[in-house]
Symmetry: none
Subunit: 413 residues, 2 copies
């Protein structure tokens, strides 16, 4: 079964509104195991809407329309569906009653233009909308299905949950469709193409489950998707594939599904009963910000120092003046002294230190923009690494934070 | 001139990624005055991509493609464009050199599969990508234009700014299109509807320039857009409207166009010759991160302390133990002591302190989740304010950072 999403509204083509409806519907369809091959956006123009609907009606089994059901002259979804079906629009008393009662409930007066919202193509069913004035619309015709929902996300979600999802779920089970289950594997410390090479044979010989690479934000991802008669059967298939991936890429896997690196680090620290403190120079606080995005992080994260100036490095972090003079603020020695210093002054079990040149200025031939030294200090050892990142200021800061958290994650394993 | 945007990638059809590229490009096209009638998304399937490209190439003058330029077997944009043009793919030595040098710079090894990224349709031009490995692609054919950009937002924006926008701008002016110029007015400390009410007559009576409200991220925006024969003419129109807006909303305006609040604060500090230090609790480093996103911020931002634990508040920031015991860590008194403490220990001219309950846990009846006290300390006075934010953990952190930076901006005026 193939579905298609069509968003209707000129505001989407002006970029005033970021469309979240279609990503929501896409996720919902994927969870139901319905293929989505096309997603389109079209402005408030009857000819263009109808032409797009004809094409979609031709190639897909389920059409989901978002937007264009409001009361204004710009709202053309009802007209377009009527034209697609070759049917007249007719006034529905029951829809009008519902709109009237919604207005009464909210104590607002009802403009005459709202009568348009009670017009339906002859064969369409009305979908009640308890969260707004625009009823939805449903058409079944020759084994094809069309849903039209209002574009307001809250109302669209409401109508989808009440009408769209249950209908399609029933339809799928009646027609003997399989259940779809998936799991995302999250990796760090390896590039996308190097990761893919190690599992290329699995990707190419995939049938069920399928396995596909994704680019994450600072991590690389593999999604395993199984299709079967039950969730339990799918989980068995996924587990088996997960173990095969783990054999080849286990050292890079830090989490699954929606887990973040900072959450995983939080669990590692909690398991060891350790506390953490940070000494940030070029990242300016970003590492602390990420660590504290995790609910309950105050149990293991003590805080730390943003030592943007050299004076804060010596005064607060006790980095020896001589190190700064001999090796410079961006050096292996300074990164080490920062990590060990913040560990010492806060009494934390683990200290982090990061120093680098985020750019765009401040680079030299020996120390170019993007050069970052980062360090993790434990009670018995301190590790320092360095990298040269090629990004802009913001990208270099993000990459530096990700690099030191990756090192920390490895050392806590 | 009509443009069309096509996003390529199965991940977009699974809803894993919310597409922000097309809204960005839509705004950019609107600013150039280029019509956008269609926006589509298609998965990593060669036939479907080619069929969509054929249709778009037929009905639009400018095609902008996003995604599908990576090194994996799933990345099919190069193949699809070659098929659209009826041309073979050829290996481009100069593209390969560029990819090689990017990898060398980042010190990573280069998998053989990346050679795919150096393949181009015969008549396509390569667009250098300094922010990633995937070069872009440009085709000009019978008065039609096709741009293909990588799907990573940072890289897409980079290539658009360097190649796409300047090319189209030149093309428009050469073909005698009216020039479009716009200016964004950025405000804080006022809500969207309150702002709109004060300029409703200007919005309703607009012709040229037009004026339209936008929702920002932590700020509220008004965009003025003029259409004329020259930039100079447009600027005169815009300036006149800007002054009318300023008369009514001047006290809330902190900047224009792409200016950020932290940039404006940086200029305020530089003008006074003052330095700044931060003491962050619930924001965890986010304020330092934002301040250090500004190039050159090391000239006025000294750094500070992330005092997530109480011990760091007393040990590093010298917040009296008695204040924490009597009033608690989330209190007016603690926020004040943090701002004054960090000012003292760093020797900065200005100190910031923030303490609050980001949630989702940790709230009480007296001190609910979302309660934040924030303070700015100058040499002659310290101001403390508090707010109760209704967001999730991440949203409350962001709102708290924005609130204290707003207070700082006001106090530096």
């Amino acid at each position: 079964m193939n579905a298609e999403i069509i968003c209707i509204g000129t505001e989407l083509l002006l970029g005033h509104t970021v469309d979240t409806n279609s990503a929501y519907l896409a996720r919902e369809l994927a969870e139901l195991g319905i293929n989505l091959f096309h997603k389109s956006t079209v402005g408030d123009n009857l000819n263009r809407i109808v032409s797009l609907l004809r094409q979609a009606w031709n190639r897909s089994d389920v059409l989901i329309l978002s937007g264009g059901l409001g009361p204004t002259q710009d709202d053309l979804t009802r007209e377009a569906v009527a034209e697609l079906l070759g049917e007249p629009l007719e006034f529905r008393e029951e829809a009008w009653e519902e709109i009237l009662s919604y207005f009464r409930k909210t104590g607002r007066s009802l403009p005459e233009s709202n009568r348009r919202q009670a017009m339906f193509p002859a064969s369409a069913r009305m979908l009640s909308n308890r969260l707004g004035t625009a009823p939805g619309l449903f058409v079944e015709c020759n084994g094809k299905y069309l849903f039209a929902f209002p574009g307001v996300p809250r109302e669209l979600i409401g109508l989808w949950e009440e009408h769209g999802r249950p209908f399609l779920k029933r339809l799928l089970s009646e027609t003997g469709h399989p259940v779809l289950t998936s799991k995302m594997i999250r990796m760090i410390g390896i590039g996308e193409s190097a990761m893919e090479e190690r599992v290329m044979d699995l990707i190419q010989n995939q049938t069920n489950p399928t396995i596909a690479p994704y680019v994450g934000k600072g991590d690389v991802l593999l999604r395993i998707t199984a299709r079967g008669n039950s969730e339990a059967e799918n989980h068995r298939r996924i587990d088996e594939m997960y173990h095969r991936v783990q054999e080849r890429l286990g050292e890079y896997i830090y989490g699954t599904d929606e887990e973040t690196l900072e959450e995983v680090i939080g669990r590692q620290l909690t398991a060891k009963g350790w506390t953490l403190a940070t000494a940030e120079s070029c990242t300016g606080g970003l590492i602390g910000h990420r660590l504290t995005l995790v609910p309950g992080s105050s149990a293991y994260y003590l805080g730390g120092v943003v030592s943007y100036s050299n004076r804060l490095k010596t005064d607060l972090l006790q980095v020896p003046e001589s190190i700064l003079q001999e090796y410079g603020a961006v050096s292996e020695e300074t990164a080490r002294a920062m990590a060990e210093g913040v560990r010492l002054i806060t009494g934390a079990d683990v200290g982090i230190g990061v120093t680098g040149i985020a750019g765009p200025d401040g680079g030299t031939e020996m120390k170019p923009v993007g050069l970052v030294y980062y360090s993790v200090a434990l009670s018995d050892k301190t590790v320092v690494e360095h990298r040269i990142f090629p990004y802009d200021r913001s990208g270099n800061k993000e990459a530096a934070a990700q690099a030191v958290l990756t090192l920390l994650w490895k050392m806590l394993r």
